[in-house]
Structure formats: C-alpha cells, structure tokens
Symmetry: C4
Subunit: 245 residues, 4 copies
C-alpha cells in the first residue's frame, strides 16, 4: 500500500465530509463519507461521533475491504462502516459512499416511498426513482446490523453493479439515504442531489394534491438528460485539460 | 467588437452568476446567467460544470448570437447555451438570461402548473402568471434539444417580445425556470423573484386548501403594482444621478 | 429640530433596516423600516430601491409627518413612505414601522386569512390574531394608493391606538405585513415575530389537517404570556441599569 | 462552592446558549440553556431578554436549586428559570436543560400532538414519542406559572427519572420544547434532535397523507438504534482517550 495515494484519498475524504454540514445535509455528526483505494484493498472513512469542526485527516480511519479490520487510525470508525464496506464489495466500480440524514430524503425513507422521477433535475443524476429498501428483519437487526443494512440496499438493486451506476443511491427504509459514486466527491454530490430532488418532489406532490396529480415525464426527456451528463455521448461539463469546442 | 464593453459585460455576468448560490437558487453547478452585447453580436455565458467558487471572468465563454459558435474562451459553454441564444434572438429587447433549478419554481414546473398571481410581490415583477411551456416532443428532444427548449418558451409567449417584457420568465415543463431582463443583473433578480413568488404561492395554496381557496386579486391592484415599478409612470427606486423629489 | 436626536435615529433606523436581510425577512430591496421623531415632526425612512449592502445613514430620507414632504435627503424615499406616515398619524404612541415581504406572513396575506393565535410564541407579542385588511377598492388604488394602504390597516384596528399597541401589526390583503412598535428596533423585531408565528401557524395547520384540528388556546394562558412581557406586571427581560432580584 | 467548577460550567453554558441561534433553534432571545452543579446546589442559566450576540459568561445567573434564589449575577435570570429548577429537582441524573421555540417542534406543541417515532433518527435519541403535556389550568397559570410548567412536564413522564433518561424532552402544550441531558451541551444537542425529527415527521406525515399513511417502525429496529448510542452496549462515538478497536 503506497503512502501517497492514501494521502490524496484522505484529503478528498476529509473535504467531502466537511461538505456535509456546509450543504445542510446533516446536523451534529449525522453523516459520513468514505473513499476506497481498490488496489490497496482499503477504504478511508470518518471516525464515529467526531464533529465536522474538529475533524482532521489524521482522525480518518483506514479499514480493510476484506474483513472490516481497522488498518490505520487511533479512533473507532463510523458505526456505518460495515454498510459502506458491503456496498464497496457488491459494486466494484464505485469509489465513494455517503450517508446522511438530510431532512427531505429521510422523509421519503420514513414514508417508505421511493423518490419518484418528476423532472430533469432528478434525471440528470438518477436514471429512475431512488428506491427504498425492504425493512430489516428482527434477525438482520440483531446481528451484523450495519452490514445487513448494506445487504438490503444491494438486494433492492438486484445486486446489479450496472443498476448501481445508473441509480447511485437508495433510501434505507425508516432510516435515510445512502449514495455512491466514482469518487468520494461524486458520492457526496449525489447526496446533495438526492436531498434536492426529494425536496422538489415533496413540493410537487403538495401542488399535485391541490391542483391535480403530476404525471410521469416522457421517457425521451429523461433519457436525454441522463445521457447528456453520463456515458459516451455526455456533453455536460468541462474535463480538466479538455477544453470545449 | 470593442474590448471594453465585453470586459464590463464579463464582470456583470460573473457577478450575476455568483449570486445564484448566494441567493440559494441552485446547488452544485445548476444555474447559469448570460448577458448579451447586441452590437458585437455575442453573449457571455458561464462555462459548463464549473463550480461558482472557482469561476473567474476568464472562464466565461463568448458565443456568437448568429450561429452559436464559441468566439472566445478555453472552456465549453453551459449546455443551456442554445436556450439562451434562442431567447436572445426571439426577444430583441432583453439583455440577460438566467436559468436555475430553484426548488419551489421547479416544483411548479414539475407539476406543470403556472405560478398564479396571488399578490403584489408577484405583480411587482410579472404582469401575469409565470407560464409553463408545452412538453417537448420526442423529436424536439432528439435533435437540437436545448435550442428547442428555447422554442417552447418563445411559443408559450406567442413569440411576442412585448409579452416577454411584461412577463420576464417561464417554466420549462418538468424542468425549471428561465428568466430574462434588460441586463444580466435584471435577469438574475427576476430569477430571485420567480423563486420567492413560487414559495409564497405554494404556502398560499396550502393555506387555501385548509381554509378555503384564495381568489384572484383585483386587476386594479395588480396594475397599480406593475406600473409602480415599470413603464413611463414608474416611481419605485432611485436611478443614479436622478434624486427623488 | 436638534441635530443629535436625528443622528441617533438615523443610526437606529439604519441598523433596523440591515436586520431585514439578516433575518431573512426580504430579498432584494423588499422591506423598509422607519423611525419617528415626534418632537421634530419627522420620520427617517429607507430610500426606495437601494440595496441593503449599499445603504448608509446619509442615504436615509427625512420626511415631514404633517404633509409627507422630504425634509432632508438626496434620494427618493421608499414608495411605502405614505403608508408609514398614515400609521404614525393614526397611532400616536408608535415610534417605528416596518414593512417586509417575508414568505409565510405574505402567504397569510395572500390567502386573506389572519394569523391565528395558536400558542405562546404568538401571545408573547400579539394579544390576538394578526388581522388582514379589507381589499383596497379601485378608487383607493387609483389615487393616494400608499396612504390608503395605511388607511385600511387603521380601519381594521378601528382606528384604536390601544388596539395597535396590543396587536402591533397587520397583513395588508394580497400584499404583506406591516408591523410597528415603540421604536424602529421594536417594529423590526415585531416583523421577525410576525414571520415566525406565521411559519409556525402554517405548520400547525398542516398537522391539524392530518391529525385533527388545533383548538384555540385557553385565554388564561395567552393573557399570562402577553402580560409577562407587556404592561405594569411584566417580568421578562433586563432593562439596562435595572438588575433583577 | 469551589470557584473552578462554576467557571467551567459558565463556559459550557455560554457555549451551549450560543449554539441556539447558530443551529436556527430560536430567533431574538427565544431560547435558553442551563447547566447544574449538584454538589454546589446551584445551576447557571441565561439572563432574561439578553441577545446571544451580547451574552458573556459574567451575564449568566447562578440560581439555588433549593429555592430559586439568585446566588450570583447582576441580571434577572430567564423567565423560564423556575421550569428548569423544577426539572432538575424531579430528575436527579440530568445536568442540563434547554428551552427553545424551534419552528417545527413548536408546531407539534401547538397542534398538541406528540412527535411520533417514524425512523431511526428519532430512535437514536428518543426511546419513544416526544410527548406533549396537559394544558395548564387557570390556577396553574395564575400562580407559579413557570414552576407549574415544569410540573406538567414531570407529570407527563410520571415523575420517573428513568423515563426522563430514555425520552430526554417534552413539548409543553401550545408552547414549545424543553429538552435535557447529562450536561448543558447534551441538553442543547437534544434540542437540535427534537427540531430535526419534528421537521422530518412533518414532511413524512405530508407524504403519508398523499401516498398512504406511514406505519410504525418495528420495535427491534428502534431498540437497535437507541442501544447503539445509549447504555452498556453502546458502540457509537469515540470517548476521549478511549480509541476504537
């Protein structure tokens, strides 16, 4: 395990964690971001219960993908560590995971309703509704609760890594959102999107109940937006050193 | 094309873009403002996917009104550039265009309902409901999607430049608000108004559904407010070097 | 008219105006505070259309209570100046007036519903519902619109200065809140309260519609809270140089 | 009574009070935190009506647990002081008390509905609904109103100190939330949780009324979350000098 990659990863994971309170995604210590180094077989995650204001790169905990052992760090990792580990193992292409208790996404999780696709803001990032997991059984709660939390997410996506790329997040029933992405930063940004589209959906449903229900957007519009940002024909954004036309 | 006007325009367009996150109109990179130089035949717009915190005057992209060519700039312009260009061509008196994903305006767009005129805050800026466009057809989505997005806005306003002055904004169905104005700054401020009146309307409709429906305000009140701020008899504000009585 | 009192008044009025955006009561330039000097027969008010960030003591405008003439100032006063003047003339004990377009209070104004007394937060400041005025007639809109806006407020309070002390604010139908108080600062703080209780009432009504209607609080509780803060038996707060027991 | 403990307590109580406006739990001066020194038989509390921006350690007031006498301080203590004192006397294990007027928690108080347990965010802190007190009678309002406010809270928890540890907060009917904890800081953080879960519950109920009612989470899930953070088997967080595995 080379030192330099982990140094960069620690920096990225710290920065992504600090964006949680900045973006209003969680109060107190209710959110965490991790990033993985697949070659080194480890991921870097926030320690448990440490406030964002106090968090340093040194406080981050390095955990083995294989068995969840703490490889580096003087603090206990996030209680949600095993959920992150489960997701990394099930979805080989993801590089970061984020968990928050953002208010509107949690409301959908508590109502056990997927966040429906109601417009292009959603379709830009999630190629389908943000799904809700099944409830964990008493057995799944009693033992390996956090790893099982990952399992119900994976099950909802049929364990399909390609679906996980198209729909980079899910709501754990009665709990809240987990999102992921190619990097820790991308996972955090998908958490921002998840909360934003949950808020918009809540307002849209409120209007619908007063003014007539919202209908589902046509598929051609949604596809257009998702492929504008993702895949071989994407034309959104500026990649560094790759100026536009 | 003289250098100085574009320098001033770049400064104004940068300042207006930076107000998007400040005013809470968009998270991540979900909004853009442009400003036009009619004499030079170009407009200046935000580059695609660049975060507001990193944005500089040099990053802004100069685009030809005539054909959408990039005239100056090392980055790709906003994916919404062709929508801006379509609006500038249809409405000769506008000097700036803004697009955001502000939550309450998006909710009306997703519910495909115009923002109704429920009070003077609305009437101060929009002389009528903020309309919603038709859905884009599969054909309109497949080719020239962004220019066609401008076309459905123009169509909703009957291609009438005078209506575009009286109602300086529209909601693209299932997408979100576009606003415009005499300058980039005015376009941005109309986006602020659009979001504020959408939020107020949502709360008003919620109260109405509980306490009895809101009725439409009398026309004489709305006219009073619009003409207090617009047109030959306007008496709101202080124009520089033109002190009040 | 002595210089020093007006200097102090300008400072207080400026400070109160700057709290409008800080407290989230208005965006752009949608709010204004004034303070009166009864001996001098003038009040000091925000100029029209000037942004809070740019506002200085020198920009404030001094207006005659008697006839609305501008006595001092190089800018045009707020378009709402005549409404302030009407309130000062009708209610001799008030020292400050505030107008905002805060979102929840405006929603009640647009729904033309008083803000009901649902709890002690409300009763601490308003000894009764925050009332809504009648609609202005076409005639009242056509001529002296802003003074007439004050008149419908005064009429809703039966022109009774004592009621204006007990209920220091009203919602102008389809427009928004005006509040007042012993000083400019108190008027501003009553605008903060008006918005806060409007938001709480909206949420309470939402819960009520789902869980059963809220009932009116018992009179003895409301009286207790109002008199805890107001009148001869008040025991809330610390007056300067008057330490507690 | 040793000086040093009170000095530390003053620092902690000041810090906790300053978090009230930072966390958006109250505007103006609508909230207060106290912390107790059981050995010294006193608690330290915010003075009445002093703004958070002006508050210093010296302004804090030291009050006797036994009889409510002011032991130290040049200002009058919070009007809610007697409520705090009542709670300290009824629940011997608590070290801090917080009162706020946070908007969503107040809405539940005004609707006289407990905040229901709808998910793990709630269960992490409150092992059951946040209850609402009975209304105070006219007699309870007329005399010793603030102490009686404490009494109705204690009565709702059956005067049971163990219940007060499991459910560290209650809503006073038509008034607002009081929370408590092992320290002033913990009491403040429980006020943050109380407001957050009230907001989430309000959104969840809104979704439920549109999409079908939310059901109660299974007991095994709630237990898991509460015991993950509380009691002998807790494994959340990092205690100072007690690094994780």
């Amino acid at each position: 395990m080379s030192e330099t990659p982990l140094k960069d990863l620690r920096r990225e994971v710290l920065a992504a964690n600090l964006r949680i309170p900045e973006a209003g995604l969680a109060t107190l210590t209710w959110g965490n971001v991790s990033g993985v180094d697949r070659e080194a077989g480890v991921f870097v995650i926030k320690p448990s219960g440490v406030s964002y204001a106090d968090l340093t790169e040194e406080d981050l905990v390095v955990v083995a993908l294989e068995d969840g052992r703490v490889v580096e760090g003087h603090l206990r990792p996030s209680t949600d560590t095993e959920t992150h580990r489960c997701l990394y193992r099930a979805f080989p292409s993801i590089g970061g995971v984020t968990h928050t208790h953002s208010a509107h996404a949690v409301a959908f999780a508590q109502a056990r309703r997927p966040i429906p696709v109601l417009g292009t803001t959603h379709a830009d990032t999630f190629n389908g509704p943000v799904p809700v997991t099944a409830d964990l059984t008493a057995e799944q709660c009693a033992k390996d609760y956090e790893y099982n939390t990952g399992q119900v997410i994976v099950a909802r996506l049929d364990g399909d890594p390609r679906r996980a790329e198209e729909v980079p997040g899910a709501l754990v029933s009665r709990h809240g959102p987990f999102t992921w992405g190619a990097t820790a930063k991308a996972a955090l940004e998908n958490a921002v999107v998840c909360e934003a589209v949950a808020e918009m959906a809540l307002h849209t449903l409120a209007l619908g109940s007063r003014l007539g229900e919202a209908s589902e957007p046509p598929r051609h519009l949604l596809e257009r937006h998702f492929t504008r940002k993702h895949g071989p024909d994407a034309y959104y954004g500026n990649t560094p050193h790759a100026p536009g036309p």
